[in-house]
């Protein structure tokens, strides 16, 4: 399911924009993946094949998960943006995973703040992360799923929200 709920879409886009711009100086745009797939000759976006992913649980006031998936090149670029100048040999998988996990953590927090407002207590769990070429290997959870695609620096970044709170 795409972003059919305007409040969720707005809360998430604002959260992603502020998180990536503040942390890594990266700008985001909504991305229609199906349109790009229909016309591969006119495709200046690198769509996901292999993915770096990070997933963070919502603990309170609702249960659920936020997952981000992105191509390794974008993960590397964002990590370099966060760290500033980084020697290539310092750009280890551990550093990249940690950066993407921290982005998911901050994104989830910003999303909750935007969606719930300042007065409602929320709690997040600790992030999980990994690398895969098969999206089905990423842990899945019960609940209504919202899958949103963005373009960041010419690369696809996908955010998946799963929770019963928005049913």
């Amino acid at each position: 399911m795409g972003c059919v709920d305007g409040k969720i879409c707005s809360a998430l886009a604002t959260a992603l924009s502020s998180t990536l711009e503040t942390l890594a100086f990266a700008e985001i745009d909504p991305l229609d993946v199906e349109a790009y797939k229909k016309d591969p000759n006119d495709n200046d976006i690198t769509l996901r094949d292999e993915s770096i992913w990070a997933q963070i649980p919502f603990v309170l006031p609702f249960k659920g998960y936020l997952t981000i998936l992105l191509v390794p090149d974008l993960a590397n670029n964002l990590t370099e943006g966060i760290y500033g100048f980084l020697e290539k040999d310092m750009l280890s998988e551990e550093v990249v995973f940690d950066s993407i996990a921290e982005i998911s953590n901050i994104l989830a927090g910003q999303f909750c703040t935007n969606y719930l407002g300042d007065d409602i207590f929320f709690e997040l769990g600790l992030p999980d992360k990994g690398r895969t070429i098969d999206e089905s290997e990423i842990p899945v959870h019960d609940g209504v799923e919202y899958k949103l695609d963005y373009s960041v620096e010419g690369f696809q970044l996908t955010v998946i929200l799963v929770t019963d709170a928005f049913a």
Partner: protein
């Protein structure tokens, strides 16, 4: 001024340390959770701590610090994703001096440091 940065994310520690060093705060010690933080307090004059961490979270870390008279008056700034009013109030109750919600700008974190020191 000797500053302790406590966060389970090496990335966030790096961001904070970079911001501190750019502002002239060169003497910075790092810890990955509250337990490591408690073991790193020698000579510390300011603490920046995350809330949500494994092993010992930031709030428990602050409680432990405030129990010890030697650390009772050291300024503590909570740097975390949780920014609802109830959480801020709880953190302040436990002895946190100020609060920064991620993501933050360098300017904001430096202003917060200057306001508590």
């Amino acid at each position: 001024m000797k500053i302790l940065v406590v966060d389970d994310s090496a990335t966030m520690r790096r961001i904070i340390v970079n911001n501190l060093k750019a502002a002239g705060y060169e003497d910075v010690v790092q810890a990955a959770n509250g337990v490591e933080g408690l073991n790193s307090m020698a000579g510390i004059e300011l603490v920046l701590t995350d809330w949500n961490m494994p092993v010992m979270d930031g709030l428990s870390f602050v409680k432990e610090l405030r129990k010890n008279p030697a650390f009772g008056k050291i300024p503590i700034i909570m740097v975390t994703t949780e920014g609802a009013k109830e959480e801020v109030i709880e953190a302040l109750k436990q002895g946190v001096n100020d609060y920064v919600v991620k993501p933050f700008t360098k300017q904001l974190i430096i202003e917060k440091i200057e306001s508590v020191t």
